[in-house]
Subunit: 371 residues, 2 copies
């Protein structure tokens, strides 16, 4: 057995995205202890940078030491109490995963379905809230990674708060790539991932909780069912006041990488990054249009960072096309997930991958393999 | 804000341990997709290397995509069903954490206490098993990271099986550093960490489950309360047969590092690594003895990879000593945890840190700061 030397891919799937040399180099710096004062300085900087990226002043803003799925579960396990009614908006795979989380946390999920490829319907959520006045939480995906759809997060949060509900928002694919304003939109709890528009390797899940969410967590009747994810314990580790208490061992080198990727985002400017994603997506869309390839999602709801295209009818073996893209062009794109499996491809323009060179490479490769 | 440049420490605490340049370089290789065929090859190799390190043929052997605490919870959340009686042996911090896990999973913990600094008493466990014939699981820590004590894992497993119980073993500090034989000792479920005697950055938790454990997991009445840790789902991702199904996004670069660290272990040879830890520990013990520093743990139960020394009476501010070691000598050692806080220091000789140069550095630094 030999050391592993990965092929050099261009990552235009639904994540991970291309990671810059700067971030990889940061990750390879010498490991220090997770209780080292120098590491605590790093933790403080990461929290500050994440507040910038999320547009929030929330004190409890930090990366969960595990991938986005664990960030999702951290939100549900802490906020859902036994018997809580939770409205879950499902318009793709990650909405269905939210339902799983609610049920496993002992909550009662009220599921609002919308067609995959369309945004969450405000009217349906409003009707569900009216019909279920005892609802405690409204949960939805801001940017569905399985379809490439953006829902109206601001309006959904406003609506949920009219019924005095707490909101849990999946922003795994949003953060850094398209408009997101945690404080301005009054999001109570949010989770994301490191490997999408932050262009950091996978493994960390940035989260943020406002005071309303923390209040619910602190006043739970029963302890959070997960010890690892219990924010009442994790707060003691990530909270800088009065020294940190040991909870778990943070993935030190992964934090170096996240810090560097957030620094790069700040150097570019958050709004500039959003604009770059939008601009690049328009170019990619034009290129696909020129080839006669259609998008699944109406342009006004389409995420710039995740472009879901309909597999043309004449393609009989879509997996073979993806294999050719990978083997002949070192280009990774994403397959369809769940109900969209075999029907769409997902082309990511996330973070560092949202650049002209990648678009050119992608269109050239598609032209070559589709012939 | 600047890029983070960590100080160059010598890591002789309870983990993380020193990470070799080879492992750091591996970690910095270009990120590829977590469903890339090349990554799947890496996953297969990691499973094979972990089987070597654990001394097992267990098919379900893989690293959980999160730190050791999540590996612990993965074992308990999957194996403990509501109402299950679990004998938990507590002789340090990580035993108490097991109790927390049992309770949060809806199990009933029967706690067997032994003095911190001594091993788990077989007689007490035997008595508890006799008194509780409905016990389903016996859980204990093979190598207590909070005290530096090795318990008799082989004998405890044998005893538990006489009463038809499943065993859950914490080997976070054991793996690669001292004798461990999953198949030979008939361990049913085991978890470890990447950042101890494997000398890999923190963030991953190698686990292994035998058929008896898998049988219990597959036949649960209710789903595992954690979606992220549910082995019924994770198996579909880590199991190579018939293609992998997406569950979560694995921390790709962390896996590169783990692969390289396991390769280094295999190159040295598992038994040679154990012997090196034993040899180095004897040298360190002699050095401390020459300085009049005493060990907490009787030599016959002491872990070579974690040396717990009693803080001499004349030291009035032990934290100041650790700060001096860190600031003046770039040497990290560990504080006492829980009941041993302020009473002991923990000096790790884990993985790559178990070498003559570190021992020399450590003894020199101690002499300098203790004067």
């Amino acid at each position: 057995m030999q050391s592993f030397n990965p092929p050099k891919r261009t990552l235009m799937g639904p994540g991970p995205s291309d990671v810059s040399t700067r971030v990889l180099e940061a990750m390879a710096r010498p490991t220090i202890g997770h209780l080292d004062p120098a590491f605590q300085t790093l933790m403080d900087e990461i929290k500050e940078l994440l507040r910038y990226a999320f547009k929030t002043e929330n004190k409890l803003t930090f990366p969960v030491s595990a991938p986005g799925s664990a960030g999702m579960e951290t939100c549900f396990a802490n906020l859902v109490e036994h018997g809580d009614k939770v409205i879950v908006c499902v318009n793709g795979v990650f909405g269905t995963r939210m339902v799983e989380n609610v049920t496993r946390c002992g909550g009662e999920a009220v599921v609002i379905n919308d067609d995959w490829g369309t945004p969450v319907s405000l009217d349906k959520v409003d009707a569900a809230l009216k019909a279920n006045p005892d609802t405690k939480i409204v949960a939805f995906v801001a940017a569905e990674t399985s379809t490439g759809v953006a829902s109206d997060t601001k309006a959904l949060c406003k609506l949920a708060h009219e019924y005095d509900c707490i909101t849990i928002v999946d922003a795994v694919t949003s953060l850094g790539g398209s408009e997101l304003d945690v404080d301005g939109w009054n999001i109570d709890a949010i989770y994301s991932g490191s490997q999408k528009c932050l262009s950091c390797p996978p493994g960390l899940s940035p989260v943020s909780f406002n005071e309303r969410a923390i209040e619910k967590i602190k006043n739970r009747d029963k302890p959070v069912q997960s010890w690892f994810m219990d924010l009442n314990l994790v707060m003691g580790y990530w909270d800088g006041t009065g020294g940190r208490s040991y909870h778990h061992t943070a993935p030190v080198n992964a934090m170096y990488a996240l810090h560097e990727s957030l620094l790069i985002l700040k150097e570019e400017g958050l709004e500039n990054s959003w604009k770059r994603h939008t601009d690049m997506s328009a170019k990619l869309r034009q290129g696909f249009a020129d080839m006669g390839i259609k998008y699944l999602v109406d342009e006004k709801y389409a995420l710039p960072q995740l472009n879901t295209i309909i597999i043309p009818d004449h393609i009989t073996d879509e997996a073979a096309i993806r294999t050719k893209l990978l083997n002949d062009h070192n280009l990774e794109i994403g397959a369809g997930l769940g109900a969209l499996s075999g029907k769409v491809w997902r082309v990511g323009l996330m973070g560092h991958s949202a650049c002209q060179a990648n678009i050119d490479k992608c269109l050239t490769a598609f032209k070559a393999v589709m012939n």
